[in-house]
């Protein structure tokens, strides 16, 4: 299994200035300020489970932008109900990207409850019509392109290796500065 960073690099490369990126708390949010992201970024440092509904509010308000929401399996396990909420609102300009590593990485790497959740099946059963698993970074651009063309919201599932030795940078932006900078 491939670690996180190559996937994040591939995702950022596939974004355009017309996209909007919303990240849940944790490693992705901590990496993004150190990367050149062509789209506006709103990164959380708290509030597990907030990234997808936050992105939904943006997507419904700005239908001309494509909104990409990054969420971890720990966060989504806490609030899987949001899949039904997204399906009900049915924005075609929202792609959720689910990072699966089976751990609460940002709180010390504790394991998630040991249930073999089938996220693709859960998403489909909740009404998300476009679901795809992306096994390698090289496939991410095409997967995102297909998600953009979907008639409704999409979910891309990225199984990644949990690497307790990954040198994740600390949070480097203050939340109110993130809000002040975020302009569409």
């Amino acid at each position: 299994m491939i670690p996180r960073k190559p996937f994040l690099d591939a995702l950022v490369t596939a974004l355009t200035p017309q996209d909007v990126l919303v990240s849940c708390l944790g490693a992705n949010a901590r990496w993004l300020p150190h990367m050149t992201v062509p789209a506006p970024v709103f990164a959380l440092c708290d509030s597990m489970g907030a990234a997808i509904p936050l992105a939904l509010g943006i997507a419904l308000t700005r239908p001309e932008r494509h909104v990409v929401a990054l969420e971890g399996d720990g966060s989504l396990l806490m609030s899987p109900n949001v899949l039904a909420t997204v399906a009900a609102a049915c924005p075609s300009n929202l792609t959720c990207v689910l990072w699966l590593n089976g751990h609460y990485e940002s709180s010390g790497g504790q394991m998630l409850p040991g249930a073999p959740v089938d996220w693709g099946a859960l998403a489909r059963a909740s009404g998300i019509g476009h679901v795809a698993t992306v096994a390698e970074p090289a496939a991410l651009a095409a997967a995102l392109a297909a998600a953009r063309k979907a008639a409704g919201p999409a979910l891309l599932i990225l199984p990644i290796a949990f690497d307790p030795a990954e040198e994740i940078p600390p949070y480097s932006e203050r939340p109110e500065d993130i809000t002040a900078r975020f302009r569409l």
């Binding site: 909007v20 919303v22 709103f42 959380l44 440092c45 708290d46 509030s47 489970g49 907030a50 997808i52 509904p53 936050l54 992105a55 939904l56 509010g57 943006i58 997507a59 419904l60 308000t61 700005r62 932008r65 609030s79 109900n81 949001v82 039904a84 909420t85 009900a88 609102a89 939340p175 109110e176 993130i178 809000t179 975020f182 569409l184």
Partner: protein
């Protein structure tokens, strides 16, 4: 004009574009009026914390979001109020049904009624009780404007009597 319609008029007057909601009996009456509005989009969510995030997303994107939930749901929202609304300095206007006060005859709401205003005080959430005999639309508009200007939350507590 019913109180529910007046509340939605206030949302419209304040430029609210999106109302995210988990309904109860009372909030459902307001959401029925929202669905009749040409200016405010109704967004049905599964959990109250989602409603907060959806409304904040609308605000970040240049719209104006509002959250319409019961007080039971507001009591669920301590984490996201602290970790999103307060931390990121985001406007977030709430209309919350105040179940369980002396005007609410349903016994099982009483425990929520006893703790709601104390919780709002403890969480330092600016709030007001709606005055159904006054101008509800103006009260709503003032609440929205307060949340926008203060870049934070404001909670307007409504009772079933206010909606008639």
């Amino acid at each position: 004009m019913s109180g529910a319609v007046a509340i939605v008029r206030g949302l419209e007057d304040a430029g609210v574009t999106l109302a995210a909601s988990v309904p109860d009996t009372w909030i459902g009456k307001i959401m029925a009026a929202v669905r009749a509005s040409a200016k405010v989009r109704a967004v049905d969510v599964a959990r109250e914390e989602e409603a907060v995030a959806v409304a904040c997303g609308a605000n970040l994107a240049g719209g104006r979001g509002a959250v319409l939930i019961q007080n039971a749901g507001l009591l669920n929202c301590g984490g996201i109020l602290a970790g999103l609304v307060e931390l990121y300095r985001l406007p977030c206007f709430f209309i919350v049904s105040l179940r369980g006060d002396h005007r609410d005859p349903v016994y099982y709401h009483a425990p929520k009624g006893r703790v709601t205003e104390a919780t709002l005080q403890a969480w330092r959430l600016p709030h007001a009780l709606a005055d159904g005999k006054g101008d509800l639309a103006a009260q709503v508009k003032r609440g929205v404007e307060f949340s926008v200007e203060s870049r934070g939350p404001f909670v307007l507590l409504v009772s079933g009597e206010d909606l008639a």
